[in-house]
């Protein structure tokens, strides 16, 4: 138990991402309403973004924008451990953009579904398809 | 003309925002401001009847008004907080209701300022403006104050009128 507690606590960022991920996954599979699925999809994606972002965090560092005052061309040595890891941020910017795009497309398809079937409940759509 | 004014205002905003005064960034700023001024020149100065000088006057008169407004806000806020925190007071004074009054302000912008001021002043919120009629929701009789009671112009409206129409 003494080992267990730090194990739980020290990675709370990871647990948070995990919980959100699972909520999103569950929602995407289990929810009957298609808009709910879309929202669950956003949650799922943001959980992954959270995971990446927390990966790039460094204790005692600052944001990955170099402090001014080095002169234009960085005459002073820059201590890498002083800045957070920029790479996950870059990746996640892309992931957010992809998320928004997917959201837009999913919503457009959703509207089309509603136009055709008159509903966005999955079971009702399935019924109307079978008829 | 108005585009130029817009440009100048925007340029001011740009300078404050960017905080970089080397040629490259200034040039970028110039281009940006020009662009926005061209896109949105009809937005910032919607009503073209008034001249620029009048506008400047308004801006100067607006400063004391905003100080007064801040004071009003703080005073009135205490009232709402009291209502929120003390159950007894809440029981006694809380009396939401809606009332209407007719404004004499002419320009849209003045109406907007008045409406926002009313909203900012705690206890009253502008619901809508139908032509000249303000629909206001007040949380208590006290909060409604002279907006509801005054026959001609409430104090706030008078001050707004002073700012925008130069009347006392």
């Amino acid at each position: 138990m003494a080992d267990f507690l730090p194990y739980i606590v020290a990675k709370y960022n990871y647990w948070a991402a995990l919980v959100l991920l699972l909520i999103g996954l569950y929602g995407m599979i289990a929810k009957n309403n298609l808009l709910k699925k879309v929202i669950a999809m956003s949650i799922f994606q943001s959980a992954i973004i959270l995971f990446y972002v927390s990966m790039g965090d460094k204790k005692g560092s600052t944001i990955p924008i170099l402090l001014h005052g080095h002169g234009e061309h960085g005459a002073l040595a820059i201590d890498p451990s002083q800045y957070a890891n920029p790479l996950p941020h870059v990746l996640m910017l892309t992931a957010i953009v992809v998320g928004v795009s997917t959201l837009g497309v999913a919503l457009a398809v959703l509207q089309k579904i509603h136009r055709v079937h008159g509903t966005i409940e999955e079971d009702e759509i399935l019924e109307s398809i079978e008829e | 003309m108005f585009t130029l004014a817009t440009f100048i205002i925007l340029a001011g905003a740009w300078l404050l925002l960017s905080g970089k005064f080397d040629a490259f960034h200034l040039a970028l700023g110039g281009i940006s401001c020009l662009l926005v001024a061209l896109i949105s020149q009809d937005l910032l100065f919607h009503e073209r009847k008034k001249g620029l000088a009048a506008r400047c006057g308004e801006a100067f008169r607006f400063l004391p008004y905003s100080c007064w407004l801040l004071y009003q806000i703080i005073v009135a806020n205490f009232h709402v907080i009291q209502l929120a925190i003390s159950p007894r007071l809440c029981e006694r004074e809380l009396d939401p209701h809606i009332f209407t009054f007719k404004t004499r302000l002419k320009s849209d912008f003045a109406k907007f300022v008045l409406a926002n001021s009313i909203t900012l002043t705690p206890g009253t919120v502008t619901i809508r403006i139908d032509e000249d009629v303000f629909h206001v929701h007040a949380i208590s009789r006290k909060a409604a104050g002279d907006l509801e009671t005054s026959e001609t112009m409430s104090e706030m409206e008078r001050r707004v009128a002073w700012v925008f129409e130069g009347r006392a």
């Binding site: 001014h68 | 709402v80 929120a84 009396d95 939401p96 909203t119 705690p122 919120v125 949380i139």
Partner: protein, 123 residues
């Protein structure tokens, strides 16, 4: 000294925010909640931001001043946007004829939408 002013401003802001929050929870209907939200929120934001802007000035430099000015910008925008949003929400509620809490002891004059709605509910 500066720090104390900052602390004062921020504490005041926190206090207002607390009041706002309590109001949001406690007030009986949506209109009055919106009152709490619209005002307390704006004021507390202004106070808190003002505190932070001031604190930022304590290493005085051009950059710091510019940053404080930016925070002032934020204040201005909140000043414009918050009441507008409040108004928009209130208007929406009014348009949607959200039920309006009326003090039971002293029935006042019906509010404009009341009559119409009653007719719709009980034709």
């Amino acid at each position: 000294m500066l720090n104390i002013v900052v602390m004062g401003l921020m504490l005041l802001g926190l206090f207002f925010f607390f009041g706002t929050s309590v109001g949001i929870v406690r007030f009986p209907d949506f209109y009055s909640r919106l009152h709490a939200a619209g005002k307390g929120d704006t004021l507390s934001s202004i106070l808190l931001l003002a505190g932070l802007a001031l604190y930022n000035l304590h290493h005085l430099s051009v950059d710091a001043i510019l940053v404080s000015v930016k925070i002032l910008f934020i204040i201005v925008f909140i000043f414009i946007a918050s009441p507008t949003a409040t108004h928009a929400i209130m208007d929406a509620g009014y348009e949607a004829r959200v039920k309006h809490w009326v003090k039971r002891k002293t029935p006042k004059e019906p509010w404009p939408g009341e009559e119409r709605r009653r007719q719709e509910r009980h034709p």
